[in-house]
Symmetry: C2
Subunit: 190 residues, 2 copies
């Protein structure tokens, strides 16, 4: 059992049989020392990749991405924005993401200034369930012509489809903890 799995068992809690809340250290209150330790594991996994940019999506991915930057020679972080504005102009890459929580679709954008075919990207996010946010980030990366060197998430819900879809598409996906099942008040990891 790794440090994230231990921490989930210690501080996570089950909201219903589908949702594990880790808001005391990962996505509302942030334990920065712990998140920095997680980025050490991510760095180790991708240490042979030439990564010059970290791509994430607001809001919960930003802390992990910022700490990862320190481990990859301060590669710039770019975070995709969830857009409410209608007129975005032509200077952004745009994708559509369906929210698992609210079941609504929203737009995410990245300015064309900050991603290009010269970029070798590590994509990072806190959670992977259906994979919709990651699919949006992959779509945006592809529009820019950048190379995705890898994808790292803290928690993957292994009983949903996202991880399988992304691995089947050939991406090097590192999930620090893969939840296999949540039932009877018990969390089991893969």
């Amino acid at each position: 059992m790794n440090i994230l799995e231990e921490r989930i068992l210690k501080d996570g809690y089950i909201l219903d049989d589908n949702i594990v809340k880790v808001d005391s250290f990962l996505n509302h209150q942030l334990d920065i020392k712990f998140l920095s330790q997680l980025t050490d594991i991510i760095k180790e996994h991708f240490k042979d990749k030439k990564i010059n940019k970290i791509l994430t999506i607001e809001a919960s991915g930003i802390a992990l991405a910022s700490l990862l930057s320190e481990k990859f020679d301060y590669a710039p972080v770019v975070f995709a924005k969830k857009q409410k504005n209608k007129n975005l102009g032509t200077d952004v890459y745009e994708s559509h993401v369906k929210s698992f929580t609210t079941d609504k679709e929203y737009r995410v954008t990245v300015s064309k200034k900050f991603l290009s075919e010269d970029d070798h990207i590590l994509v990072v996010d806190d959670f992977l369930a259906e994979g919709n946010a990651l699919k949006g980030l992959i779509d945006i990366s592809n529009q820019s012509g950048a190379t995705i060197e890898g994808i790292a998430v803290a928690v993957e819900k292994g009983f949903q489809e996202g991880g399988k879809i992304i691995r089947d598409a050939g991406y090097d996906l590192l999930s620090l903890a893969i939840i296999d099942s949540i039932s009877g008040g018990e969390i089991k990891f893969k």
Copy 2:
């Protein structure tokens, strides 16, 4: 002229006579090494304060807050969430913030689990204009009974009211760059 003022002149650009964009290093693409240098200045200013928690608001404040945590013995970061959900329950502190950009009001919340009267808070954000986001964070802090030891922002637009309101209310507000005017394509600092 400090490093942030220099960087704004180098990489910022004026969108109209009111808006300075610093999205290449502060709030869309993030130059983490540079932001970490900014947090050194913030740490120096508040070094005599006993700070055990960093409070910010999603999304752009999270990177600065995370890097600040490293300078304050890994004090936990809590970020207020912009809420779309209607049913929040009674386990959150809630405030209302008027967006300067969209002119709409939105709700921000912090779980009651993560702020209490035992906390000594440093509030941080990337931008201060009318001060609405900071007023929301102050409101939430006050609801929790926590002590606000100080407030730090990267860029203050000195020609708007926020800075004056917050200083007049007695808070120790550190703005790393105060823009005094934007006119004729030129940015002047206070």
